[in-house]
């Protein structure tokens, strides 16, 4: 059954409003994109929407009680909740270095979660 899904493209600040005509995951028409990146985004968004995720994890003996972390690659949207739950369980020792792997191969998806900054020990 053909349906039209409205999306806003987020590849660049322009934010083009896009209409995607599709049957299930098969796209039959895209209208409203301003560029090729937009088309790619829309295709991916419909079939496998992904997002960069940033959050924090607990630190012991650090300058602050939390260190900010982020996914090195965009995560599938439906799994964000699961990732956040995993991160909530983690507690690491200071000192922490920028780029240090906090959670390797998160959720078995081949994406690492790394520290965003140094966190010195106090």
């Amino acid at each position: 059954m053909e349906e039209i899904t409205k999306l806003i493209c987020i590849s660049c600040p322009k934010g083009c409003s896009v209409n995607v005509t599709h049957e299930g995951e098969t796209i039959t028409d895209i209208s409203g994109t301003g560029c090729k990146r937009g088309e790619d985004y829309v295709k991916k968004e419909l079939t496998d929407p992904r997002r960069m995720v940033a959050s924090t994890v607990r630190v012991i003996s650090g300058l602050h009680p939390l260190v900010p972390v982020y996914t090195q690659a965009p995560l599938p949207k439906p799994r964000i909740h699961d990732l956040l739950r995993e991160l909530r369980k983690i507690e690491i020792q200071a000192p922490v270095k920028t780029g240090q792997i906090i959670l390797e191969n998160a959720l078995g998806l081949g994406i690492n979660v790394v520290a965003s900054r140094d966190m010195p020990k106090v």
Partner: protein, 500 residues
């Protein structure tokens, strides 16, 4: 079944506003064991800290009323009081400004009324004279009453200073302690029941402000007396953007003193109040209509404010207790006078009620009157040999010259850490208040004492830091720290802990 009496006092003062604290300070002079109970987490949180901060000259109250007598007597006491208790007080003088010929006639009547009340130092000014003293005054000015004995203060600082002096002279203060009922033996009050226990007393003194009606009813006194809260809203303007150096009243109407534009001891200009009767004694809310009303009122006096709305840095509202007690003198037709009495129908009770404007000005005179009433009732009132009227003020980093700031930081490095950037309040200042004779244990208490969080950013920068300092000094988790008492905590849970 009677609750066990925890401790016995000579006098228990119910309510820690400026009147209660002044009474405490006056009683501390005598060999009396005194307890002051306050239901909130800090003293002076209700009417006493949300008003126009004016020490009135005394031309406004009707001659023959208790308000008039207390106002004029109280006004005279402020210089000595400010010197002894070390709080900021400026006898600025005030103007009652007329903008029409009719208003000027009213102003003349006001001056006559002031003379009847015994107010010294008043003159009438022409429109030109007013303009020369206050360049920003409306060009419509037709003249003004100039009352040289009018003054400005920080009403909360006054309350704290009085309370601290009382504590240093032996008065006990219990915060978070709410009056519930009296313990009576026949017609005599012998104790006060609170949420923290029952305490014995020979005298109970009602200084409960907005709740003074409910307290006196528990003693069976004046069942017809009712307090209605009158809300007044205010604007505070950025002192870097605008300075009005005078205290400007409009010509009063039947509604009251009107909307002022006035300077404060902190250098900010404030505008307000309006006057709206409400039902809820606790609700202190600003309203769109109210704020517009006071802004428009201010423009009538100072039209140049018209494009200064962006200079507003704070708004607040205060409740004042409007009572319905008729003046004791039947010849005077006035139905909202002060109640200052030892009633006949009950023993052991000093009853103060309906203390709205000029309550702040009158507070020291009311305290003296309470002492007088106690003496007349046969209380021995033996003076203490070692009573110390002087309260040594705490240093504030922001008030010092650079050289003295440097010395202070060297002596105590905590004064080197600025917590409130807009008002230059340091960690040392804040910690001093947490450990003061009346300890400041929440954010608003710190704010009232140090002026922290009252500047341009309204706490945006300092709030997390003040919370952290309070937590550390009080030895609790930041989750326990509140804005103004247990029901107003800032934080809910640690970030990584969830319910589900």
């Amino acid at each position: 079944m009677e609750d066990a009496v925890q401790e016995k006092y000579d006098a228990i003062i119910i309510g820690g506003g400026v009147v209660g604290c002044m009474v405490a300070r006056w009683l501390s002079r005598y060999e009396m064991k005194v307890l002051l109970i306050e239901k909130c987490s800090d003293i002076g949180t209700a009417t006493s800290s949300a008003n126009t901060a004016i020490v009135h000259a005394g031309y406004d109250p009707l001659p023959g009323t208790l308000k008039a007598r207390m106002n004029v007597e109280g006004n005279k006491m402020w210089d000595q009081l400010a010197g002894e208790l070390n709080f900021a007080f400026e006898r600025r003088g005030d103007y009652v400004v007329a903008t029409t010929d009719e208003e000027f006639e009213t102003v003349k009547t006001l001056m006559k009324q002031g003379e009847d009340n015994g107010v010294p130092g008043m003159i009438l000014l022409s429109g030109e004279e007013v303009k020369s003293r206050e360049p920003e005054i409306t060009p419509n000015v037709t003249g003004a009453l100039w009352a040289s004995t009018g003054g400005i203060c920080d009403p909360f600082a006054v309350t704290v200073a009085a309370a601290e002096n009382a504590v240093m002279n032996g008065v006990k203060v219990m915060l978070d302690t709410a009056f519930e009922d009296f313990v009576m033996e026949g017609k005599r009050i012998v104790g006060v029941k609170t949420n923290k226990g029952t305490f014995g007393c020979r005298w109970a003194i009602n200084s409960a402000g907005l709740y003074s009606d409910e307290v006196m009813h528990k003693a069976g006194v004046r069942p017809e007396f009712v307090i209605k809260p009158r809300v007044g809203e205010y604007f505070v303007l950025d002192r870097a953007e605008i300075t009005i150096n005078n205290v400007l009243f409009p010509t009063p109407t039947s509604k009251g003193k009107g909307i002022l534009v006035t300077t404060t001891v902190h250098g900010n200009t404030i505008i307000g109040p309006n006057s709206v009767l409400k039902d809820d004694k606790e609700l202190k809310a600003v309203t769109r209509e109210g704020l517009n009303e006071i802004w428009d009122g201010a423009l009538k006096l100072v039209p140049c404010l018209a494009d200064k709305r962006r200079c507003v840095i704070a708004v607040f509202a205060g409740n004042r207790p409007l009572g319905n007690a008729p003046c004791k003198n039947p010849a005077v037709k006035y139905n909202s006078d002060f109640i200052i009495e030892i009633p006949e129908e009950v023993q052991g009770f000093v009853n103060l009620g309906g203390i709205e404007s000029p309550g702040l000005t009158s507070a020291p005179a009311i305290a003296e009157e309470v002492v007088k009433l106690l003496k007349e009732a046969g209380e021995p009132m033996q003076e203490k040999a070692d009573w110390n009227p002087i309260r040594i003020p705490r240093i504030h980093f922001r008030d010092l010259e650079r050289r003295d700031q440097e010395k202070l930081v060297e002596k105590d490095p905590r004064y080197g850490r600025v917590i409130c950037r807009c008002e230059n309040v340091t960690e040392g200042d804040i910690i001093a208040e947490i450990h003061a004779p009346i300890p400041a244990t929440n954010y608003d208490a710190i704010k009232r004492r140090t002026w922290c969080g009252t500047g341009r950013c309204q706490g945006g920068f300092d709030m997390p830091r003040v919370v952290a300092i309070l937590a550390k000094e009080m030895g609790v988790s930041p989750l326990e720290i509140s804005k103004k008492g247990d029901e107003s905590k800032f934080l809910q849970r640690p970030t990584k802990v969830t319910e589900g």
